[in-house]
Subunit: 199 residues, 2 copies
Amino acid sequence: MGMGRPRAFDADAALERAMDVFWRHGYEGATIAQLTEAMSINPPSLYAAFGSKEGLLKAALDRYTEKRDAWMDKVLDAPTAHQVAERFLMEHADAQTDPANPPGCLLVQGGLACGTGSENVPFELAARRTRTEDQLRERFVRAKAERDLGDSADPATLARYLSAVTSGMCVMASSGADRNALREIAAVSLKAFAEQAKA
Amino acid sequence: MGMGRPRAFDADAALERAMDVFWRHGYEGATIAQLTEAMSINPPSLYAAFGSKEGLLKAALDRYTEKRDAWMDKVLDAPTAHQVAERFLMEHADAQTDPANPPGCLLVQGGLACGTGSENVPFELAARRTRTEDQLRERFVRAKAERDLGDSADPATLARYLSAVTSGMCVMASSGADRNALREIAAVSLKAFAEQAKA
DNA sequence: AGATATCTGTAGTGTTCGCTACAGATGTGG
DNA sequence: CCACATCTGTAGCGAACACTACAGATATCT
């Protein structure tokens, strides 16, 4: 028995296009017609490969998370907690205003509040954001063990603070804030971090 | 000639209900059916009073902004820039986790990225957020004139920073962060503000 | 009271949504 | 070369969407 006709499109390249549409219009604002056109495929191919609109989003999020993890590895590899925070904040400022992508971040612009039937989407996005926060926290726990953070510094609070600031930068990017504006925010936040870190 | 049958519902009360629906589901996630049911009116009454779904949102935003302005007046009346920042941050933490409202803030959860045909909505929300930032900046300009802020402190940067942090808190609230979590973020941010303010 | 103007509720309108049935195309395994 | 399995493109499905035509109700103004 045969193995069937092979797929005529590159799933990863298609996901990259889908990511852009979800990012620019949000999950609910993105239509199947826009997605299929951006992906250069027809609806049946989309549904055969990804199951549903939500399945496509999850696949796009998986791909996004994969790339983000590689990026986070570099960030977390910085020798000190302060440098971790600096890289995290500054590179976020750059990425969120990179003209190659829509403004902000897929995990925020994708949809904070959705309609009935899509309640799972904000939840899914939140879980991925929390993952980044967890990675930061664990890194700061290590930093504390290495005496790189003060005794009264709380890794969870520091991680949550950085997560909140970068999320806020997403909202600012959505309002049209440019790279310099986000970098200024990052710079102020970094000083706050330093202040907390040495406590 | 007569003046016609009078409206049988209270427009302000209806807007309050509409606000809640937009807040909880976002602009695109909110359906006319949900809105009319929450407002206890029928579609023709909605369209006679507000023109369209987007018109209803703008009316709800106007009402939201009105209440927010009254609140901001109180915040801006604090004697020092530091106390302005403290009230702004802490009361945001409380408001965004007030069980009387959906989590976060209408100006963020309402929709950062929308579909084709609703491009105006994120723009409208952004304009209202910018308004708050402008109010803060002007207050800090005054504070600087009063020698309440250091010479190298930049009112625009400080205002943008506070705006970013509260927007970030909205995202955290959407992820399920509770009041204490947001207050911790506010506390760290306040120290950053103090550091910048005395510079 | 009568004419007029506006609101209200019922019951839809056309359009777009996410999704799929189907037939033809294109590969693999025997 | 043939049977089979899977993909592709066309064309369209039912449902839900934002919105409205219409008729009856209820007010004001003369």
